[in-house]
């Protein structure tokens, strides 16, 4: 019984890799027999080689760490601002009337539409990218935090109050945990958005980072390096997704939907 389960499991694990492997080998084959010009799409082997040599020269790691640093810092800035303001407007009616309309108005401006202004304001330095990505990350977290706080079960709050919970204990034991599923949805959304925004910001104006590396390579028609950059973004995006899943697993272990 045990054995059969593990074999089924193994089979399932293997099956999901069949199509990617098939695609990859077709691609390699097509490149080998000359159907695909390397200017359009380099063969997988060339991409692997490019990645290898980039990582040997250390170039890959510098660009990677620069991009990663940008992503983390703007997520921290935008995310914590979003969380803070969301908690504020969600918890206090007065803060909502004061701030929410303004924030909703700003939300309707796509972050990327601001690029010309941002370049005018900040030039093409680090702060421009930080601003752009933070702004984009801010709203999903803000909105979901606000919504989460507002939709905490009123019955639970009433119950907790009648058990003598008030002020901070009420907030810590009932309101925050109740809002957490929604807040984490916002975090997940934001983590996905970080990379999209960063790609755009880095391809427009940067002297380093993965986006810069790909744009630079494009000028020299190094399609293999471009592809390395694209794959790196995909990998980092996946990493962010895994991270948010782990966060959900950890914080929502009580929730039947996350076990």
């Amino acid at each position: 019984m045990e054995l059969r389960i593990s074999r089924n499991f193994l089979q399932a694990k293997l099956t999901c890799w069949v199509v990617p492997v098939l695609l990859l080998s077709t691609w390699e084959l097509a490149a080998q027999i000359g159907w695909l010009s390397s200017r359009i799409l380099p063969e997988p082997l060339a991409v692997a080689k490019a990645a290898w040599s980039l990582s040997l020269s250390g170039e890959l790691w510098t660009h990677l760490s620069v991009s990663l640093w940008r992503a983390v810092s703007s997520f921290m800035v935008g995310g914590s601002l979003g969380l803070l303001l969301g908690l504020l407007t969600g918890s206090f009616k007065r803060a909502e009337t004061l701030l929410d309309t303004t924030l909703q108005m700003i939300r309707n401006i796509p972050a990327l539409a601001l690029i010309p202004m941002v370049i005018l304001w900040f030039g093409i330095g680090e702060s421009a990218k930080l601003f752009l990505v933070s702004l984009g990350v801010f709203f999903p977290i803000y909105l979901n935090t606000f919504h989460g706080i507002r939709s905490v079960d009123k019955g639970l709050i009433e119950m907790a109050r009648s058990y003598g919970l008030n002020g901070w204990p009420l907030y810590r034991d009932v309101i925050l945990p109740g809002a957490l599923p929604s807040i984490l949805v916002g975090v997940r959304f934001s983590l996905g958005l970080v990379w999209v925004l960063l790609i755009v910001a880095e391809t427009i104006a940067a002297q380093s980072g993965i986006g810069y590396m790909t744009m630079n390579a494009r000028e020299f028609l190094q399609t293999d390096v471009v592809l390395v950059g694209i794959l790196l973004y995909a990998l980092l995006g996946k990493l962010a997704d895994v991270l948010s899943r782990l966060l959900e697993r950890y914080f929502l272990c009580w929730h039947p939907g996350y076990r």
Partner: protein, 256 residues
Amino acid sequence: MQMNQTELECLAAAVPARRGIRVAISNLSKSYAERMVLQQTQLNLDAGEFVAVVGRSGCGKSTLLRLIAELEKADSGQITFADNHHRPETRIMFQDSRLLPWKRVLDNVALGLPKLNDAAAQALRQVGLEDRAAEWPAVLSGGQRQRVALARALVHDPELLLLDEPLGALDALTRIEMQQLIESLWRERGFTALLVTHDVQEAIALADRVVLIEDGRITFDERIELPRPRSRGHAAFAQLEERILARVLSRPDCKS
């Protein structure tokens, strides 16, 4: 600690230590948006008395309980407790258990206690769920959740326990079990209890008095003299049930 002492006293004197408090409700009125729900309601509960409130849906039973629990403010009228003016330990139990899903069973029971102490575990033991202490509420059955909610209410050693159809969502068997549990805990602790129920049989099985709310007033107040524990098969029980049910149903024009 207090609980231990209470238990000791129970054993020593074989008379429950009366922790219950007297409640006097006079001229209580409450309306929601022009709709009168309670009008000049009068009700007195003796210390340690078990009173059941019946009435048609929408007649203001929950409203009465919520007013007593201070979850809602009355338009006029008074609720006074005992002779002194301190606010008694009041706990309310709802139809849905209202357990915090992100706290384990034991932490739910310990909600509002100064710190996690033996009392919570002991209360859990009294409702027979000590072995589920470390689980999430989501994995418990409906009846078990209500038992946890009962433990959570009792851990504070209330002087007044308000029960708003706590058994309404349970199946018949679990319900009878829970009724017996509530009755035995009430007899042991001696708190004053006010139970809202749709089930006349439940009211008769548990209560010293059954009152009926109609048109925002108490229009019927019957003392149940049957000896405890009451058996449902008893002829007197059935007679009483029939009479009260007939009385509840006799006025079809209850506001709703």
